[in-house]
Structures are given as C-alpha cells and as structure tokens.
Amino acid sequence: MTAIASTSPALEPTAPPGSRARRVWRSVRVPAAVITALVVISVLLSLGAERFPTGHLEPGSVSPDGTRALVNVLEQDRDVHVTRSSTAAENAVERAGGDTVLVVLLDHRMLPEELDALAALDVDTVLVQPSTRSLEAFAPGVEMTGRESPERFLDMERPVSPECDLSAARASGPADMSGELYTASPEVEAVGCYPGGDGDALVQVLEEDTTITILGTGTPLTNTALDVAGNAALALNLMAAEDVVWLRPDPPQQEGGAGIWELLPGGLRWSLLPLVVTLGLLALWRGRRMGALVPESLPVVVRASETTEGRAGLYRSRKARDRAAAALRTGFLERTTPKLGLGADPAPEAVVTAVAERTGDDPRHLRSLLHPERPDPYAGDDDTLVRLSEELDELTRRLR
C-alpha cells in the first residue's frame, strides 16, 4: 500500500507541486487527531485522580477488599486512628483514654513480643482472623477449630444468623460471618455467635473489664460487603466506643542482613589498605618528573602575505569588482608601459595608441579595456571580470 501510494505521484507528472505533502497530511490527520484526543483526555482525567493505597482490609483502599467505607462511617461520630505499627497503636490507645476499641488486622505481621505488649494494654479489642500466636496472647483458651468451605464463604446471598445472646450480634441480625471458626474452652467466660460446623465465627471473650472479640473473617468490614445484610451494623456495634484505634501493621522490614562486604574474607577486606598505598606509590613512581618543565617564549610567526590575503578576502566578501578590475589593470599597465618605451606615468591616450600600434587592435576596444569611462563595462558581474583578466593576459602574451 505504502509503496503504491508513494510511487503514484512520481508517475503523475501533472501533479501540482505540494500535492505529495498534502496527501501525506490527509492520510495522517485522523490517527493524529485520535491520538491527540486520547492524550488530552487521559491527561485531564489524571489531573483529578487521587492515588489510594491498596491491600486486603486496607483502611485507605477503595477497592472491594478495602475498608475505607467503614472507616469513613466510623469517623462520623467517633475518633478513628489508623496506625501501621504496634508501637503506634500502643501510643494511640494510651492517648485515647478509657473508652477505646483496638481493631487488629493482619496480626501475623507482628512479632510475638509486639502481640504480648498489645494484649497487655487491657483495652477492648477486635481481632480479625487472628493467628494462633495472637490467639494465645489475647484470648488464651480459645482455639481455632474449623473453617467454613470457600463456597459458603463466597456465598453473599445467604448470610449467617447470630444465634447467640450477644447484643451486638443479635441487634445486627444475619451477617456475612464465616471463615475460621473458634471454640472457647469451658474455663473461659466466652460467648460464641454465628455458629458453623465446628465452632463459631465470632467469639467474644469477657475478661475482667474488657472484651476480646475474635472475628473469623474480615468480610463484613470490606467495602463490597458493608451494605449487605447486617454487616455494617455488626461492625459498628463491635466498635462502639469514643475512639477506635485501627491497627493494620505494615509488613516487617528486612533488616540486619549480611551485605557483600561482611561476606568477604577478612584478608581481602584488609588488603584494600595496602592496595591504596600501592596505587599511591605507583602514581608517585610514574608521576614524579625529573625537574620542572622548561618554559620558552616562542616568537610570533605570521605569513608575510597575510595582509594581501586579507585584502583578497575583503574584495571577495564585498564583491568589489571595480577595485579588483582597477588593480588588475594597474598591474598590467605598470608591467607593460616600460616595455613600450613610455616614460613613467604616461597619458592614457599614449598608452592606448602605443598598444594599438603594436598589436593592431581596435583603439576603441583597447580604451575601454585599459582606461574605461564610468561605469566600467568590465566590473558589471563576475563573467566580465573574468573576461577582463583573460583579455589582459592575452594582451600581455602578444606584447611579449
């Protein structure tokens, strides 16, 4: 296609000039316009865009598995502190005062010591899908005893009913509570709700004056499930306090790993020092001069013909044909008149007559050649200047 398109104007000798450019423009303008429009639209769209963090149960995330919606709802009538590490959460709890709920998500990211420290805070706590170690720290005596099937977990149409005495759960009604199931040992004072096969999806342990609530899943808290059944009500009921401290720890940073430097043998590491010394000695050995450089003032060297060449350049740049013609004529006359037996500074007419006698040329032509009237017929353009030099050379040859 392109080949045909590009060769066709060459086959049409009658095509007006510029048609090729116009044809190229015609073929290019639609794609160019589309690309331009796309770029403009995407730029405009991106101008107003806000970048949200992403992640499972992330309080800032607007994706289906985020919890931004719940956090926004909570913020309407209580203080929500989103924290990213256990120490920050401890500080937030201590600052918040008595009526506080600590919500702990993804607690497998925390170290056992951190979990113990959080458990020792003595505050109402909601654990979402806790790890075994976390269960031991917060609610000793509660164990994970089963897990709902994934089919059941994804089935949003049929929420599970609380079937327990816990007011928060009963008031909310059926909720998407499934996932891990827990059973509390008889010694522990605990309430289990949303029962599944081998346990309950919500267990609330009552300690002296605090409650530890364990949720088997975070699904009711997510953006996508919040408006389904009693999910929102359950979440709000569980977090009924003046301050809610939301702890979603960041993944622990890798630290203290051995670098390539520590993996090197000690000898190699130490050898850098003598190596530097060796390089220094090498530089000294090669770089030390035998005495200083000897200065010498150099004479100015310029070609004697420089001024003449400069003048030639001026003639050329200003196209000074009249000057050039005059100089060529003067040179010819000064060389020729002594040979003609004429004295110094002969009259123009005498020169013309003498040359005409010698060569038999037309005196009128010689006059215009040697002593022209103004305007000089030979200074008109480059061709006449060349002709002048040729005629002068020819005359020189014949007068020899």
Binding site: R269, W270, T278, V294, V301, A304, R323, T330, G331, D393
Partner: protein
Amino acid sequence: MVVTGRAVLLALAGTVAVALSGLIGAEVTAIVLGVLAALLVVDVTLAASPGAMRLSREGDTSLRLGDAATVHVIVANPTRRNLRGSVRDAWPPSSHAAPRARPLRVAAGERQRVRTTLTPTRRGDARAAGVTVRSIGPLGLAGRQRTLSAPWTVRVLPPFHSRRHLPGKLSRLRELEGQHTAMVRGQGSEFDSLRDYVPGDDVRSIDWRATARGDGVMVRTWRPERDRRILIVLDTGRTSAGRVGDTPRLDHAMDAALLLAALAGRAGDRVDFMAYDRRTRAQVRSSGRGSQVNRIVEAMAPLEAELVESDPAGLVGTILSTQGRVRKLVVLLTDLNAAALEEGLLPRLPSLTSRHLLLVAAVRDPEVDRMAAERGGTDALYRAAAAERTLSERRRVTTELRRMGVEVVDADPEHIAPALADAYINLKAQGRL
C-alpha cells in the same frame, strides 16, 4: 622523595600477602605497611644527598643554526656515599637536548661526565634550565631528587646560508681591483700608482705626462676605493616578523647582511652594524680594517623581530648623530611596505641622503607573485587583484625611493643576498661609495 618501580612491586606483594592472610588480616596489614614504610625511610635516608653534588660544565658555547653542539656536565660527588640514580640536563624545548635523562653512577669522591647534545631549531641564546639529580638508596626502593643550577649558555648563530655566494662575488671584486688572473685594467676609480708599461696594458691608461718626464712609458693603475665605511641597518620592527617561505624576513635579511659584511670586509671597507626598531637592539662598530663578520654574527644571534612599528625618525636621528660625519653607504634592510615607508621614512630621507648614500634592500614575497598569477574563477581573480595591488604599492614606493636618489634592491629570499652583493659591487665599480 622519589620511589622506584621496585617499591611498587614490594607494596603489591604486601597487598597480595594481606589478601591471602584470612582472619589475621589486621595484623598482617599493620606488619606489611610498617615494614614498607621502614624500608622506604631507610632507603631515602641512606641515599647520597643530591644537593651535595658539585656541578661544573664545559663544552660548546656557540654553533650555527642547523649544527649540533655538545655540552658536558661534570658531576662531582664529594660525599662519602656512592651516588646511584639518574640525571637530566634540562634545556629549552627548541634546543632539542638529547638524551632527556640518563642513568648516573658516581662513586664517593669521584666525578662523572654527562654529555648532552643540542640540535637547536631556533636562533638565539639557549640557556640551561637546571640539572636534576636523582639519587636512589642502596635498596633501590626510594631516593631523593634535587634540581641544581649549572648555568651555561649556548649561542645559536644565524646559519649564513649565503656563504656559498661569497667566492663568486669575491672573484668579481678581484676583477674590479685588477688583480684578476686575466690581465684587464682595474675598473676602480681611485688612483693607485704609476708603473712601467708592459705589453698587454690598456693604452688608455698610459699617463702621458709621467711618460714625458721619464724614460719609459708609464701607466697609471687604478684601484677601487678602499677604507670606505658601510653601515648595515637591520629593521627589527613588525614588518620583519612576517614569514616568507618558512623563515621570517628578519632571517633572510640577516643572511644578506652577512654576505655583504663578508664581502665588504674582504674589499677593505669598514663595516658597522646596527639593529633598530624603536631603539637600538644591537650594534657593532668596526675597529680598524678586517672582517667584522664574526662580531656581527654574534650580535645578530639573539635578535628577534619585535611586534612594534619601527620608528624611522629615530632611526635617521640615530644614524646621523652616532655614526659620525664621514660619508658612508647606509644599507637599510627592511620591507618595502608602502604605509610604513611613506609615512615614516620618506619625509626624513633628504636629511639622510644629503650626507650618506642610502641603499634599501627588501625581501620580496614569492607568495604574492604567485597569487598575482592566479587565474580561474572569481575568487582567484580577487586574490590576483589583491596581490597586484600589493605589488603596485611596492613599485610605487620603489619609484619614489629611486627618485630621491636611493638605491633599491628588491628580490625574493633566494636572490636577496647575491642581489645585495651585486648592488654593492656595482656601486663600488661606479666609484659612488
């Protein structure tokens, strides 16, 4: 403080030892660096002190440009340690000193001769810049170095290429004096003596009055004037800096001046020399008869073209005031530069020519002649026109000078020296000196 390649190798070996040492790296590093430093310090301390060396020089003091000179440095070692190391005799780059540096061993209490060959490419005085002595300790690891002063100057004289024209010009001169092997009458204008006629003498030279007084036929003999004075003036102003071919005008002028000085010295004339731009750069006054060439060559050697406009008024004044009132031939070697001459020299010529005979000699640039013959295309014509203009100005100045009674020699670099010699011989033949 200098170190040798051996010290670097030792340090490298130490580095390898540390690298292989493993867990005891720190200790081995300390040992290696300590030993290395100790060895270097010991070597520097035990090296013979280069500053204690006694230097003296001998060798050539002058040479003609294009020849080679040999200069020796004698290094005497008065210390009680042997000197082992190297030495460099430094000269300016244009002197092309060789070798650059060479190894040196001087036993305690002995002396060593260091030879340096100079092949200068510039005329003038070449001054030794210093002798650097490097002394390495007994271990060959490190040492000391010191640059000592050992002043020496080698004067690089003008090459005097035109010497080859001297025999030919001298034979013309002898012809003039009538001493030529062919028995022709001397063409001089000064009466020499009367002698008896011998067959073969020109009958025109018979002195009839003396013949009438005596027995035999007497002839007068003539000889060219002798003991005339010639002043060669070298213009060292900006126009002499221009390079014609590969050599500045000044050097061409020097060549011509030397031939003239040699010739005039043989002809029995007294030659003075002066170099001038805005002040006198060099001066040689003749002391009696005999050749002044060597003294003039010495005076010329350090001359360089100065980038100033020459001062013709000062020049004329200097000639008139310092050179006495005796009539002489003043040979001015300059450039026929219309602007410089017309503004400066021409108005002041009468005061000079009224007392002396002036000869202006100039080097003509063959490049300009070549440009004037350029043809083919407009650019070539513009070049030709510019060259014609230069030549025309030169002709105008020449005409002007001749009109004022000045002799002018205008020749390209190849012919300037013989042309100037010929002009001198002609003047002598005409008895115009």
